[in-house]
Amino acid sequence: MTTKEFRLPDLGEGLTESELVAWHVAVGDLVSLNQTIAEVESAKAVVQLPSPFAGVVTRLVGEPGATMAVGTVIATFEVEEDAAPPAARNPVLVGYGAPVERTDRPQRRVRSSAGISPAEPVSPVEPVLSAEPVSSVERPRSTPPVRRLAHDLGVELDTLSGSGEDGVITREDVQAAASAVPLPQGGGETRIPISGVRKRTAEAMVSSAFTAPHVTEFLTIDVTPTTELVATLKADREFRDHRLTMLTVVAKAVCIAIARTPSLNSRWDEPNRQIVQFGHVNLGIAVATPRGLLVPNIPGAEALSLAELADAVTQLADTARAGTTTPAQLSGGTFTISNVGVFGVDAGTPIINPGEAAILATGAIRRMPWEYRGGIALREVMTLSLSFDHRLVDGEQGSRFLTDVGGILAEPGLVLAMV
């Protein structure tokens, strides 16, 4: 007597599993060749499994309802020696029921590389973006479409190790490598938990970007008069102890422009189906801190003098960078200014702080050839980028606000005509 195993075959050209519907025999039963022993349901059909052996059932694996992988042993039999098939055969056919675990399949031997003696082991390929180029001569196996994909995405297959069957590189491997490519070579990748400021920033930005329909407008202006004004004021005794900057003037200009176009200082109250028009300007200033981006605000900014505004901005930034900003200072903002110019860029499409109507980004001040008094002169030029929530603000209001701010910065004396 000898024990024979029956492995679940691939019953339908490429199936990986089937569900056991019922056993038609029990352990201890004497079965004949081709006697139905079970009924299984694959993705394609319900079929009856005929016994491949004549003998006694010694084991039945799995209960009805169980999903069984193709290639797993589902039954064993005790059979007479001479009942064995003429030749043992390893299952390698299409549809033969290649085992999922592959324990009984001929083990794939490691391939020796050309030019290297067969005894010399090939160094295993390290995971994605390993610190050093892998010194293997032979790249891991892949299929032509995957090689094409790798070529298109600029991924070096030599740097990958395949996660597929027998180490074959899959599309997913290539796509994962492609998305990781911008990381600095040699640094590997680090995984950082999403928490704290990063998490809140992400949530706020996602919430804003996918609820408020953003419109962004740009205005490039010659701010030389304002830089001259700032220089003049700094020399003045009254401003000696105050840190007056272009940002201070922008903040003041925003407050003045909001007074002329109040819809920029409002909030969309979805639950109550109302638009909230703020009677004050809690002016948020975006500050890059070691902890991340914070937007503390200056309450009642519209009522502050230029000197008070300068002090408030200074204090706000210092507090934020020191990490002592209180939650109260971070909430209740009604409008935000983001000075992206400090990073050396000209313009952007800022995302509105949730609960506000607009955000103004100020670009870097550059000395550029500019039309000046009928000729071309080197002037101090800056671009303003205004994003506003189109639910609250139309192009007319947004544009008026932006040209007001720009107009003040281009000719501070215009304030006399605005207030």
Partner: protein, 380 residues
Amino acid sequence: MLRATVVDHTLANHAAEDEPKGTGDELVQLLTPHGERVSNRLFDPWIADVSPEQLLGLYEDLVVVRRIDTEATALQRQGELGLWPPLLGQEAAQVGSARSLRSDDFVFSSYRENAVAYCRGVELVDLVRVWRGTASSGWNPYDVGMATPAVIIGAQTLHATGYAIGCAKDGVDSVAVAYFGDGATSQGDTNEAMVFAASFHAPVIFFCQNNQWAISEPVTLQSGLPLAARAPGFGIPSLRVDGNDVLAVMAAMRCALDRARTGGGPTFIEAVTYRMGPHTTSDDPSRYADPAEREKWAAKDPIARMEAYLEGLGLLTDEAKASVASTADDIARRFRAGCLSLQDPAPLTVFDNVYSTPHSGLERQKSQYAAYLAGFEGGA
């Protein structure tokens, strides 16, 4: 029963000179489902010479091919074959037609004609080489007068027509037979083949086993008319025959063969039968086929009616039946053993027989592949 109303060379002239032409839609049937012999003045003469021994031989063929088929299905369910297209229910259509052929005739079949292959003398083990994945093909067509099966639906109808035109040009009276199913009649290849066969007056028989299903598509979706009614439009006379009646199939086939051998040109035979099993072992007919319809066809089983007929004649004793069953079991045993003995071929043999003459490009690929295989530790 004769569709050739629009052409001069009608089957009626061959069947019996003075017989009236049939109305067209009725089946040629010589054995009822209960095994009663029905006389038919047109077609009786075509089987008048069949001896009791030959009748028993036909019965044994039917039993054996069903046994081979069920064994192959079991082998697939046991993981020994990748796929198998069962012929259950179509035994009479295949045996009756194949046993009418001469050895110098040539068969071009689809993948389901395993009973035809058996009758042509194809070795049992050769039936499963391809389905087991150990060979690209099953047998040498010239050894048995039958090409290896075409999997492309209807492609073999063109091969058969070309072969038949060749026979005519060679001046021999061999006939080519194209076996195909109802679904193939909707294929372009089949329609082109019929155009060519009619135009060249080719000695080819279009033998359509209408098993009612093109995989899951019922034949009624393909044609509102009997399939046999299509052929006269091509100028090809046609017959509609009970495909589960081995004698009727044989009579129709002999009639068509004689016509082809004597310069009569092509004939279309629709053998009306039913696929009692799945399209292939990957198919589940319970998803689309009406069980009541299957029951109806089960009552028309080709073996049961032959059994009843032969018992009525006193030819089939219990002893003879047991002997046939024993023969079938023995063949099934040999078939299984042969199948299990088929080993995977050596990898490099994939390059063999691609070209009949040396081919430098292929030789280069072969040596590269050999080097690749040799790269595995311990050899390939």
